[in-house]
Symmetry: C2
Subunit: 147 residues, 2 copies
DNA sequence: CTAACCTGTAATCATTATAGTTACAGGACG
DNA sequence: CGTCCTGTAACTATAATGATTACAGGTTAG
């Protein structure tokens, strides 16, 4: 199991929007860098748009960031693309036998731990914003011959 | 997406082994509390056995903990049942276009953040052991009429 | 105004993981 | 020896993912 690459691709898309803000970033253009189908890009951009991270208009070429890169955290992106439902990173088995004390109480014993673990992960995502990702890439690409 | 309920079921199983250590916990017995098929239980017990958390012998009824409950963390269980591959909680898109600076460097910019987030989550799991889970359940079930 | 281009979205498909189930081989033990 | 148990293979249904084709409808340059 792993969290859908939709999340990683969404970060990729937003990074392109920022680094190509002088140009026009169409879904075809982005799809080429990500190396996937333009429809996949449009679907994800649609989610980012609904979350208010991006501005797009039907018919009008290109998408733009709706906020400053420093105002967009990875947690915002993660929530925007719905890769994990609210408070359900960990699947639970629903139908335990309530006649057994373990079956009856296992969920209430385990759920708080799962929630805490999920929150710890999400807090890490909140600590990083798009500006930092872009900065890291520019530092890497800044060398000779854009290596 | 979410992490397979195999993890939650594994915790359930180990809790039963501890709380029923006076009796014999066969896969049929456990399956009744979890409310699933005995084969599902045997599969998970097999993984717990390979990880050294549980002792079982073919033909001999029942499984037993191979360690003290205080020595088994939720992280041990999580690793035992292989619900998440090593360092790959977050899926990444493999084939970015390396001719684009973003495509070329996005992974190295994002992977450290993903790793840190995953570690933060796993650290929370390491902070809780089976003894604490059992204690919580016994406290809940300790009331009148085992409510 | 229309042709070219873009976004939005439905529909389909292959792939993969999960969870449940049946079936059966082989060990253990009264 | 017969019964019960574990270990597994095999099959099923279900769901999520990612890629793709197709097309409706908005926008704009010429």
């Amino acid at each position: 199991m792993n969290i859908s690459s939709r999340f990683a691709v969404a970060i990729h898309i937003l990074t392109i929007l920022e680094m190509n803000k002088a140009g026009v970033s169409t879904s075809d253009y982005i799809a080429e860098s990500v190396n996937t189908n333009p429809v996949v890009i449009r679907r994800i951009v649609g989610m980012l748009s609904k979350a208010g991270l991006v501005e797009v208009k039907p018919g009008v070429a290109g998408a733009r960031l709706a906020k400053l890169p420093s105002e967009i955290t990875l947690l915002d992106i993660y929530h925007a693309v719905h890769v994990v439902q609210e408070d359900s990173l960990f699947g639970i088995h629903e139908n335990s036998d309530t006649k057994c004390p373990v079956g009856k109480h296992i969920q209430s014993a385990v759920v708080p731990v799962f929630s805490a673990a999920q929150r710890a992960m999400e807090n890490k995502l909140q600590e990083v914003n798009l500006e930092e990702i872009v900065g890291t890439i520019q530092a890497s690409a800044g060398g000779i011959l854009s290596e």
